[in-house]
């Protein structure tokens, strides 16, 4: 709603970013649900979306002065691609948690409440894999547009902004995961742990920087 009012994608402060992300997450889940009919995934993704919405309403709402800087198509592209990638990684994160729960039950021969409800291991692993396959190029595209736009505006693609550094680290984690999966044949438990680790890096990049560190992504500097 706010997006329309200020004529640019409303992601400049944390509140808007979080609710926009929750929205994208739910949309991503719904698309996956339509394709795969995996209803239980919803019970893992929806709490995540709820947490983001809650966080969004808790974060102090300081309006950011409008800036011509954010009215470019490049920014929209940059933000949408990254957020979509993050939503896909969030789904991969949920699926990985499901995988680890199910794997532990089967491995320890100790079947609980969730056992009959969770899908098979191979299915979970495949979903996580495809989320990664779709999410990684999006993330790469998001980063590249970000660098390109930075180069245009500030005449240097790399500004040692904390968010830039952390994003690159996150990107590297996912790059490693993808490489291990495709080339070495990692799958299952290790891959699931790395997907969870990767998503926590996403959270740090996404929230930690917005809330605690200053940089041009948190708008106050320039």
């Amino acid at each position: 709603m706010r997006s329309a009012r200020i004529g640019q994608l409303a992601v400049t402060n944390s509140q808007e970013a979080l609710s926009f992300f929750a929205l994208l997450l739910v949309i991503t889940y719904l698309i996956i649900q339509l394709r795969l009919q995996l209803r239980i995934l919803g019970s893992f993704v929806s709490p995540l979306a709820v947490i983001f919405m809650l966080a969004s309403s808790l974060v102090p709402d300081h309006m950011v002065p409008k800036s011509e800087l954010f009215k470019s198509g490049w920014v929209t592209l940059h933000v949408t691609a990254l957020f979509l990638a993050n939503a896909l990684f969030a789904v991969a994160f949920s699926v990985s948690i499901m995988y680890l729960l199910q794997e532990r039950q089967i491995k320890n021969k100790n079947f609980g409440f969730l056992y009959p409800r969770l899908p098979s291991l191979e299915r979970l692993d495949t979903i996580s894999h495809y989320c990664l396959l779709a999410g990684f190029p999006l993330m790469t595209a998001g980063l590249v547009t970000g660098f390109a736009y930075a180069a245009m505006v500030w005449h240097s693609p790399w500004n040692w902004d904390p968010k830039e550094i952390l994003s690159l680290i996150t990107w590297l984690i996912y790059a490693v995961l993808l490489h291990e999966r495709l080339a070495v044949g990692w799958r299952g438990r290790k891959a699931a742990w790395l997907a969870i680790f990767g998503f926590s890096a996403v959270l740090v990049t996404f929230l930690g920087v917005n809330l605690f560190l200053k940089g041009h992504h948190s708008i106050t500097v320039r």
Partner: protein, 450 residues
């Protein structure tokens, strides 16, 4: 007054020697239903015989005499045996107890393995035979159809048949939880125990892509491979074939583990970590238990599988309690139906329905017209006498039949013709229409009505 009686014996009431004779009798061609015309006191009869139970379900008016006749029939069925011995193994349930027992049998609550699905099919066969020999009429027709729908309800509303309770099936369930679809999976069968073969058959039924057999005796391996449409590998090459397999079933007589931690570990990288599922049914075990610690490798031995089965059995027992509730409920419904078979309630219901229709229609008409009180009363009298004259013959007919054996049939048809059992009216018609005899007759009645 019509009685429903069920005489029989099952795995709880009779020891195994007697049941063995049952199994023998099962295979004979002679069907006790053939003797139905000789039974003077039995008006309807259904005969169910499986390896673990034999049940005679019948209706009669003279309970004592009929029970004696059916007992004689049972002894005859079992062959020569001292009558006193047999009698002590027989249980007899009467009326609603019999109905409840039948519901429990059909829902597989009375089975040796609770929740096993075969019994319902056997009961359906028994009923079909009874219709072929024309030994069932209104009451048992209705009862058996009700039984089938109760059993169906129990199946769909409880999880009584949902978890695996055999070793081989538990293994297949696990495989499905690991791999999802088994269609593109390959199975390696090492050694050939009875249980492993059963599990292999289950896996085949799931449509696995390929079955490979390894056995120390080559001939045996070839035989098995032919049975499963698979291939054989030499026993020494097992480790190399691991690379392409997804499920490994072992049941050799070897005293040493044939697959060790190191063997399997070194092959996981070649497999690119695709999951590998070992089902070890051998005692002593064929696969080193440490193998389970390797990532993406799952090992279940016979005790693990037994543990799952015990849990599932426990689950079934819990579900059985829920099923008992359903059965109690349905038994009461059936009792209510039985009560309506008496002539008097039907006549009352018929009159009530007619009166209700009369009042409704009269009110509709009168509300349009502005009549004087005198005319109003004349209308009242007119409609009353129409209803009375119309119902006179059917009621007289029913009363005349009240003393006859065939009364139930007429009561049932009257109820259907006038749709009197409104509490469960819809399923009365649908159930009785399934029975071939009834359908014919009700068609005749329909044409008569026209």
């Amino acid at each position: 007054m019509c009685r429903i009686i069920l005489l029989g014996m099952n795995h709880k009431s009779a020891p195994v020697e007697i049941r063995e004779q049952l199994a023998v009798a099962c295979q004979q061609d002679s069907n006790p239903l053939l003797l139905f015309p000789h039974l003077e006191n039995v008006s309807e009869l259904v005969f169910l015989s499986t390896c673990n139970r034999v049940e005679f379900l019948f209706t009669c008016t003279q309970a004592v005499k009929a029970v004696q006749e059916v007992k004689a029939l049972l002894r005859n069925h079992l062959g020569t045996m001292p009558s006193t011995r047999v009698d002590s193994y027989i249980y007899a349930h009467e009326d609603m107890d019999a109905v409840q027992h039948l519901f429990r049998v059909a829902s597989s609550l009375d089975s040796m393995v609770i929740g096993e699905p075969q019994i319902l099919g056997q009961l359906k066969t028994a009923y079909r035979q009874a219709t072929e020999y024309r030994t069932v009429r209104v009451i048992l027709n209705r009862l058996l159809h009700k039984t089938f729908s109760v059993a169906k309800r129990v199946r769909s509303e409880t999880c009584i048949g949902s978890c695996a309770v055999s070793i081989s099936y538990a293994a297949v369930e696990l495989a499905r939880k690991i791999f999802g679809e088994l269609r593109d999976k390959r199975v390696l069968l090492i050694g050939a125990g009875e249980m492993a073969e059963l599990a292999a058959e289950h896996l085949m039924a799931q449509g696995v892509r390929q079955m490979v057999v390894a056995n120390r005796t080559l001939q045996r391996a070839i035989d098995l491979a032919r049975r499963y449409n698979g291939e054989t590998v030499p026993f020494d090459h097992i480790l190399d074939t691991l690379k392409n397999m997804d499920i490994v079933l072992t049941s050799t007589g070897s005293t040493e583990p044939i697959l060790t931690f190191r063997d399997v570990k070194s092959r996981m990288r070649e497999r690119r970590n695709r999951p590998l599922f070992f089902i070890d049914i051998a005692v002593p075990r064929d696969v080193d238990p440490a193998v389970n610690q390797i990532d993406n490798v799952y090992l279940y031995d016979i005790d693990d599988l037994q543990g799952i089965i015990d849990l599932n059995m426990e689950e079934r027992r819990k579900e059985a309690e829920r099923a008992e509730h359903i059965i109690a409920e349905e038994t009461i419904k059936f009792r209510n139906w039985m009560a309506t078979l008496d002539v008097v309630p039907t006549i009352i219901a018929l009159r009530e329905k007619a009166e209700r229709i009369r009042c409704n229609e009269l009110q509709k008409t009168l509300s349009h017209l502005s009549l004087e009180e005198k005319d109003r009363q004349a209308m009242e009298v007119l409609t009353q006498s129409i209803v009375k004259k119309l119902l006179h013959d059917p009621i007289l007919f029913l009363k005349k039949k009240a003393a006859r054996d065939t009364k139930d049939l007429y009561v049932d048809y009257t109820q259907q013709l006038f749709n009197l059992t409104e509490r469960n009216g819809s399923d009365v018609s649908s159930l009785t229409e399934e029975a071939p005899d009834d359908k014919k007759e009700s068609n005749i009645l329909k044409t008569l009505k026209k």
